[in-house]
């Protein structure tokens, strides 16, 4: 099988029709991207292996049940599954570190810096992990918009359609989510060191 010339959609279709080799091609084609994504969030190889495995078990079950509609979005679909499992992992392992707060530092100045060295990358990821925990303390509508925007990389138009509100409402909820997130960072005295 010339896997390089066969689209994901065809491979999925072949797999659903019984071709186990197609699944192997799909995994080989996308494993690095998916695993790298998971690992970059959990920063633990064993945990990343588990989440990677759980991701594909869900994929396999859904495909074999015939519950998947091929719309040319196979990899975004898998990434969303991996996203959600990463979030589930952090929910089960809640950590609320207590640090001193510094008034002269803004978390977004760290996150927006794309030229971090390895050490700062680790610090940034730790901060991101801490911030993720705070997101779950937000009001439901604000949390929902924030998770869709940040974790699912949805546009505000998509968020508005999914939550049945206007785009302006979605934007407003996002604005208040960030305002409240800053207040929660202050409340929990999380230090945002650079």
């Amino acid at each position: 099988m010339r896997s390089a010339k066969i689209s994901d959609g065809v491979l999925v279709s072949n797999y659903i029709n019984g071709s186990e080799r197609s699944l192997e091609v799909l995994i080989q084609r996308h494993q690095q991207r998916i695993f790298s994504f998971i690992f970059s969030k959990v920063l633990d190889r064993e945990i990343a292996e588990d989440i990677f495995q759980d991701t594909f078990i869900k994929v396999i079950k859904t495909l074999k049940k015939g519950n998947y509609n091929e719309e040319g979005k196979f990899i975004p679909w898998i990434m969303r599954i991996a996203h959600n499992l990463v979030i589930d992992y952090f929910r089960k392992n809640k950590r609320m570190p207590m640090f001193k707060n510094r008034d002269d530092f803004d978390i977004f100045s760290v996150i927006s810096d794309e030229k971090l060295n390895i050490e700062n990358e680790l610090i940034k990821n730790q901060i991101l992990n801490d911030v993720r925990e705070l997101i779950y303390e937000l009001p439901e509508d604000q949390k929902e918009v924030l998770l869709m925007r940040i974790y699912k990389d949805m546009s505000f138009r998509e968020i508005a359609e999914n939550t049945d509100v206007s785009i302006n409402t979605a934007l407003g909820r996002m604005r208040y989510a960030l305002i409240n997130l800053r207040k929660l960072i202050e409340k929990h005295k999380i230090i945002l060191v650079n």
Partner: protein, 46 residues
């Protein structure tokens, strides 16, 4: 809009081969049976 969470990983990692092999074996051994009540039964056949 500033992204706090990016799908672009800065590291390039691969899962272990045994993990991938487990998934392939899992798929080969899995049979899904749909009942009359539209419920699914998952069978692991060795």
């Amino acid at each position: 809009m500033m992204k706090l969470y990016s799908e672009n990983a800065s590291v390039k990692e691969q899962p272990k081969q045994k993990t991938v092999q487990y998934l392939l074996n899992y798929s080969k051994q899995l049979r899904i049976v749909k009942t009359n009540k539209k419920q699914y039964i998952e069978l692991q056949l060795n």
